[in-house]
Symmetry: C2
Amino acid sequence: MSDTACVLCMDMGGTNLRFGLVDHSGELKWSLRTTTEAGLPREEIFKKMLEGLQQGIDVARSRDCAIEGIGAGVPGCVDFERGFVYTLTNVPGWDNTPLARMIEEKFGLAVFIDNDVNAMALGEHRFGSAQDANNVICVTLGTGVGGALILEGRLYRGSSFTAGEIGHVVIRDDGPPCNCGNRGCLERYIGNRYLVERAALLYRRHAGMHIPEDLTPETLAEAARHGDDIAGAVWKEAAGRLGLVLAGLVTVINPDRVIVGGGIANAGILLFEPLEKVVVERSMKIPGRHVKIVPAKLGEDAGLIGAAALAMENLL
Amino acid sequence: MSDTACVLCMDMGGTNLRFGLVDHSGELKWSLRTTTEAGLPREEIFKKMLEGLQQGIDVARSRDCAIEGIGAGVPGCVDFERGFVYTLTNVPGWDNTPLARMIEEKFGLAVFIDNDVNAMALGEHRFGSAQDANNVICVTLGTGVGGALILEGRLYRGSSFTAGEIGHVVIRDDGPPCNCGNRGCLERYIGNRYLVERAALLYRRHAGMHIPEDLTPETLAEAARHGDDIAGAVWKEAAGRLGLVLAGLVTVINPDRVIVGGGIANAGILLFEPLEKVVVERSMKIPGRHVKIVPAKLGEDAGLIGAAALAMENLL
């Protein structure tokens, strides 16, 4: 890749699309965001994808930058090898879409598509918090709880491309129903919505408590930082639950690093301090002492840079 | 390896040593067992190792069979790359033993040493139930609950050689103390001794029940097969606990196969039927439908054949 070469990338979310140009040092040279209202048909979303990608191509041309390929992360289950979307978690109408081929036909560039958390893990491994680690568990905390595994220095996708789904590890046999059809999944306790629900319940139980307006993980973290006991307890409980699942995975997978990203991870020390304590105390001694738990580094650009890393990894 | 070539192997247990000669088809051509009383000093056990291995060499010579190398499985934590024993679980005095080098010096053959469950997994992958599987979780049920992972067709050892320790995944935050220093580990519920303790407790609670004499996992399985409700309940509970841990690992690792071996696995349908049900129901849909749960195939020779597979894998 020459100094003026770059990768075109796309990060698909539930209600928005981001596009970017990333160079070989992992720098995002240009980016663009567009929204896709909920319920938009697949053809309309696909049209927006092509428009965004075309803009990236035009920008690259105007800057004399050669695009070597396209990488994309999408929120769902993907057969990476065929660039085939089986299903997207919160975007209906995308079942069985040969997305890589559809994009390749338009632009004549090699296209690589994977699950967005897989892409993020590749980005953190190439350019972020996991750069010098061989075995890594990645977790993203947000509306959903996602995960991905880097093993022996390579993304591990599993036998049917679903590896890493930490959010759907069952932590309570008789727990409440989860969107996935199971019961008692980790996500059902520490996903954004449930974290807030849990806080609301505890505030109601303690009449007279000041309830933060507009209860979100962010306001909850803010309240905890200002000494609100209930907010503090909710964070500690969430960290304990995530920590016990991660402790089990650290025992079985014996990784160098656990990377925690996504919106909730912004709670910082509120989350990381109790999380680290639980993981170290409740995993086996040797792997528990070995592992380091660190925040993701690439922040809100993790999806784009990850999609670029995905393309770079496979273009080589 | 010629038709008359073989590998010399050793399987070290808590109180016995087994030696064998295994050919390239995985057939055990000769074997020998010797006991090592508890508390025997390391030098005495090592002397017995050398005697057993020498006997194997003599037998091979008498049969015109060329020994290509030595493989050994030991019950503990091993740095496979250096053939270095960090510690053995139930055999004191073996911390920091450069065992591969010590054996190499005596016989001038290449020596490969690994954890016994890792060796067993390699044996099942090369010659047993995991032959055509790419990603495999192996579990052994006995006094302890062990595990190993085959990922992308290769044994996955983790960042400090401890990967696979399924028995020490914590299933209850506030569970009873485990030998490993943690609390609420899976092994603390379904290891031989605890399975029997649990049954004894339930029998005592139901005065008037016929308590099988000499309560062991075997007699407990026998009682369950004859319609003993308590024995049946103990097995179902154990399968449920193991199943929930495996369901989580199936969700995260997305393997082709789960192989269950060791003494307790002989309970057969008593264990496998509820186990399969829990794993399929409580893991995510796609990986849950994909995975097959099967008994280990190599039985009591799994340790020897696994140690042989370890050597074969690394001699190539």
